[in-house]
Every structure is written in C-alpha cells, then in structure tokens.
Symmetry: C2
Subunit: 236 residues, 2 copies
DNA sequence: CGGACTTTTGAAGTAATTCAAGGGGAGTGG
DNA sequence: CCACTCCCCTTGAATTACTTCAAAAGTCCG
C-alpha cells in the first residue's frame, strides 16, 4: 500500500503543492526520473516543449539568448521548482535554455499528459498561475531595476535576491550555495564581468563580501542592503 | 431568455475565452461595469488586490515605481486584456499601478468571487496560466533587450511591439492608436526622453517615422525593423 | 607542472545622461 | 478671436558611468 516516493516530493513542489492525492497519482504514473551532471543542458531554447521538469535536488540556470548571441540569465532554479514551464502556459517552444550548474535530479513528465491532467484538476492550474505570476512579478522588479538603477545597486540587489533564494548561513556570512562566476553575475545584472569584478573588489575591501573563484559570500548583508537602497553611500 | 450582453464580451477576453457558459454566467453574476476617463487611476501599486478588471474598450498603462520614485512602464493594456492580474496568481497586493490613457470601459469583479469560481472551473485557471505565461515570456525578451542592446535598437523594438499590439494601418504608415509621449517611450525602454527625442528626430529625417505631440506613426516598418535587428545600419 | 578557465586591474574610448535653454501646439479663458 | 499658459518636444554642450581593449596574475584539475 505504500505510495511511490516521488508522490511525496511532488506534493512539496511549487506546482503540485496542495493538490489532491488522486491527481498526484496520475502525475506520478506518467512521470520519470532523470539525472543531469553539472554543465548538462536540460532543455534548449526554441525546441518543442515536450517535457516539464520538477527539480528534486541540484541547481539549474535558465538563460535566454538573442539573435546575435548575447545572453542573459533569467533565473536560477532549485529544489521544488519547475524547469520548462512552457506547457503550463500553452506555449509550444521553450523561450530559453536550461542548464544544470550542479549535479541534479529531476522528475520529468510529458507536456501533453500534464496538460490533460491539469484540465481535470483545477488546483494544478491554479498553482501554475500562481507560480507564473510570481515569476512575472519578479521580472517586473528586475526590469525596473535594470532600467532605472546604476550597476552597483543592481549587483547588490541581485546578490541579496540570490542570498534569499539560495543562501546558506555560515560563520563568514551568507554563502551562495552554487557556483557563480563574475560572468554569471554580469549576465544577471546587464553589465560586464569587468564591472562586476571591480565592484566586488570594492566591496571586498570594505568587508561587505568575501568572494573567490565562482564563490560569493555576503559577509555584511546589512551593508549590502544599504548599497542596494542608497547607492554606494553609508560606508559607516 | 437572452443572455446578458457582457457574457459575450467576457467570452472573447483572454481570461474567459473557451470557458463553458455556466462558468461565464457565474462570473457575470458577480461582475459590474465601470468607466474611467483618460488620466484616471484604475488601481494603485501596493493596494490590496480586491478587484480584477477586463478591458472592454479603451487603453490602460501599467507602471511600476521604485522607492526613489523612478518609474517604468510594464505594458499597455487594450480590449480583452486583464488589468490587475494579481488575484489570478494568488498575490494580495498590486505590484504596479494602472492608469487609463484613453477613456475606457472595464468589467470588474471581486477577487474572492473570481478565485472561488476559478477553483471549480479549471479552464479559467488554465487561461490565467496562459496569459501570465505570455506576459512572462514578453518580459524575458524585454529584459534581454534592455540588458544587451543599445538604446536605438531598444526603441525600435519597442515601437514595433506597440505597432503589433496597438497599430492601425493608415495612408502614412502604422499609427500607434493611443497617446504616447517621448517620456512614455523612455519609460518603456529604460532611457531618457532626451535620448528618445534625438533618436526619433534622426529617424524622422530618414523618413522612417512621423511623430508629433504624443503621436507616433511608423512610416517605414521595414526600415525600423532593420534598425531593430542590425543597429542603425542599412540606411538604403 | 602544464593548460584551461577565472579574475583582476589599468588605460582609453564612448554611448548616453545630465544640465541648460528655447521653441512649438493645444487648450483655456478673457 | 487672440493671448496666455501649460505641456511637450528639441537641440547643444558638458559630464560621466560604464564598456572595451589589453595584459597579467591567480586557481583549479588532471
């Protein structure tokens, strides 16, 4: 009589939280596990969105690339989150690419089957709307920041968001738990790795952050918050 | 036996398209009409999201303002679109402000009632996910443009999008059907009204656009497209 | 210990902002 | 109908934040 262990995991994910058990069983019946190593591509921009994934463990990066090859990072995805949301919103091709930045375990399911189940279980569709709304709101804020703030504030905001989303308290401060290069940060803030490097160097000197090769620790979150809200003022 | 006329309008809106008639009747039963004059505020950032609106006629502008008063335009809304999507995604306060830019008729409905109906009719929730997904994809593209492209290309892309969304074919070219100032365009592109003015002046000289006080006509969409895709090259 | 990748820092260049002033249109009120 | 006023738009000049170009140093992995 024991349920499939994935049922439990799905029940805690953003897409299936609060969804009735019978619906979860239907989902589980069409779902499968898949592993990706750090660096593997999970899904590719402009490909048909045939599969939707739920992250079990690991960390993924969602990017979008323009015609001339310029890239930005849309967001990072962690456990419980959806990778490849397209089928939830009736789209047919992926608007971006998703790559694993750490070894990851995902639960996959065919788009068509999911949509069919969703049509019979409003709670899944409501969760989908909820998750997409949250991402939309998030991008609204980032768009405003990008349009109106100077780089150092944008970098500060970005780090604070990452800390909230994927930060681990340590003796040295809040550590971003996945590898994050200067280039990555630049692609999240709409700047260059050079500017990010210079900015972090400045904060390093003031003891606000403590960063190394693809690692960032926020030593003084409050000071970083000051930068985010008032520009580089308030050195103290 | 004749249905309420709003049923028909709702049935053609992005949120209620394809929704069964009994669900539409439930929606109509809690809905009401409301008019706004150009300049009126429909809903305010940080207010509780008590009402969701569907646009019947007119045009609205959705903006977001930061702590230091800096503002960007998230999007314009026209007939059939949702204003105040927050209740669809389980949020409680509006992430932005919506203002009428032309005299507008809206259909309003209480958030709580809508959510209750949505929980029983998956097709509404699916439409909600679909609409939010579309907006999210749109912002992803704009974020990338803002992060990676120079101003003239961004302005070109913005005008082309507006033309597609709210353009009317005329003898002089494609006219944006609602009042749109240099400042508005600047707030959509992440630049200043000065830069927009200079850029439009340049295009005016090349016969690409024909603009005046809060009016823009795209005389040569193909030429504008060239600017959007290749920078200011390809004068011809 | 070689080699690839990441980071740092300096110097030059520039796109776009900011500062500043003036001009034009539309609507209003006398 | 004309003049006044309020917006909105334009354009020049100065400034600057950031990029681009360039080179070197550090760090991890096999």
């Amino acid at each position: 009589m024991a349920e499939h262990p994935d049922i439990d995991i799905l029940a805690r994910s953003e897409l299936f939280r609060g969804v009735p058990l019978d619906a979860l069983r239907e989902v589980q019946a069409v779902a499968f596990r898949k592993r990706f190593a750090a660096g593997d591509t999970v899904l590719r921009q402009d490909d048909t969105a045939a599969i939707l994934y739920v992250v079990v463990v690991g960390r993924l990066r969602a990017t979008q690339t323009g015609l001339d090859g310029q890239q930005i990072i849309i967001r990072y995805l962690g456990p419980g989150e959806v990778a490849g949301y397209t089928p939830l919103s009736g789209g047919d091709v992926h608007p971006g690419t998703v790559v694993a930045v750490d070894d990851s375990h995902l639960i996959g399911m065919p788009s068509a089957a999911l949509r069919e189940i969703m049509a019979r279980h409003a709670s899944i569709a409501i969760n989908a709307a909820s998750l997409l709304g949250a991402r939309y709101r998030d991008l609204q804020v980032r768009l405003r920041e990008l349009a109106t703030e100077k780089v150092d504030r944008r970098i500060a905001h970005t780090l604070l968001r990452l800390a909230q989303q994927a930060g681990r308290r340590t003796a040295r401060g809040i550590e971003i738990v996945f590898p994050l290069s200067r280039q990555d940060l630049a692609e999240m803030c709409g700047t260059t790795l050079h500017t990010v490097s210079r900015t972090l160097s400045g904060w390093e000197a003031r003891g606000i952050v403590d960063s190394g090769r693809r690692r960032v620790v926020i030593a003084k979150p409050d000071a970083l918050n000051d930068v985010a809200e008032e520009g580089q003022g308030g050195t103290g």
